[in-house]
Symmetry: C2
Subunit: 258 residues, 2 copies
Amino acid sequence: MTFTARTPRVANARKLQRRRDRDLAGRFLAEGPQAVREALAAGVVVELFATAEAIERYADLAAHAEVTSEVSEDGLAALAETVQPQGLVAVCEQVDVPLQDALAKKPRLVAVVAEIRDPGNAGTILRTADAAGAGAVVFAGDAVDPYNGKCVRASAGSLFHVDVVRSPLDVVTPLREAGLQVLATSGYGADDLDSLADDGVLAAPTAWLFGSEAHGLPPALLDAADRQVRVPIYGGAESLNLAAAAAVCLYASARAQR
Amino acid sequence: MTFTARTPRVANARKLQRRRDRDLAGRFLAEGPQAVREALAAGVVVELFATAEAIERYADLAAHAEVTSEVSEDGLAALAETVQPQGLVAVCEQVDVPLQDALAKKPRLVAVVAEIRDPGNAGTILRTADAAGAGAVVFAGDAVDPYNGKCVRASAGSLFHVDVVRSPLDVVTPLREAGLQVLATSGYGADDLDSLADDGVLAAPTAWLFGSEAHGLPPALLDAADRQVRVPIYGGAESLNLAAAAAVCLYASARAQR
């Protein structure tokens, strides 16, 4: 049987587009073949909704899911937030872990997105942190929900590769106790990134704190960090955008830690 | 007198939201106080449209413009593409220069966005290139119009700081003749960025070629470049997003060229 947008299973899954319902259910939606493949590899897919065409085209994915439910085109459209989900949307168990569990693995590189509310920025930093070899990404304070659809899509699968943590804002002490130096990014930081790289500071295990593009990091986090670091500006720009600054910092650490 | 959305001057300016009309007029729109300030500093503002409130609030900007025209709220809304342009939209002369003029200044760092159609990505790379000290950014081939509103906004003023060039796709020869090594970014590049930095290669004057997130660089550009370079991936991510990869490459050059 083919489910439609009105089938209760589909209508219920659709509710996961809202944060409140995601929080209640402890589940979220991942759409498109790349995200679904990563979610299956992570073992978190509860149910895969797929059109008849997608079941044929992505037979390997459909076969891997414990439950694959065929949906009509309108059923898929109801579940998907993008125009081209390529016929696949999976209901997944949320994957975040407690901060202490992530830190117990002794990651050498951690990214903290503190009160970053833009899901595209947060998801992009998650993807970049993963690429740079980070072991954990912490969504701290009133940050965007990591399971927000746009964040999941911007993470391009990295949500399933690194330890994702949701935590209160006061993360500095536990990070430091786990042996990480805590570097806060700030356009007005006293230390510039190149000098820290020159001085060998970046070779040590490091947690990077990133604040929102509009407001930067909350003062309490800036003050609690070991250093406030600015990315040097060589030209006329006032600043870098958030995701670009995060990429430069995380890759400077990755390079120093090789 | 206060102009409204129906005043011919406003209606004509509004047409600059469309590429065809921008190309015909050789003009474009910049909105919000930051962009307007930079456009005024660059001496390219033809007419500043501002609400009564904005004229009072940004009196310094209104005084600098040769022509400041008061518009109603609906007139401003017609001109603006964002919800919060803070009362200001300027008609500006286009600022791009021929490739040969930009290269005659012997820039040591150049970014080429080749057939990148996403205006947010192109504008972000423009901003990042400026921050990294690049002298020119080349929009090559069928790239987005640099005067697209979203590109202008993503550039955060950098459109007015660096030499912006619009050029056909075959840029490699003129770049090389200007003394620049030409590095093409590719997820499958034979050289990795860290090795090039280790070997001192990045200290030389460099033009970076960036292709679209969906398709990468056109084969002709990949083949023509001096090297094909990949950003190393240390974790589980398949790749970096385009703007993040560009930030890592441009800042690796900036650091090596200090």
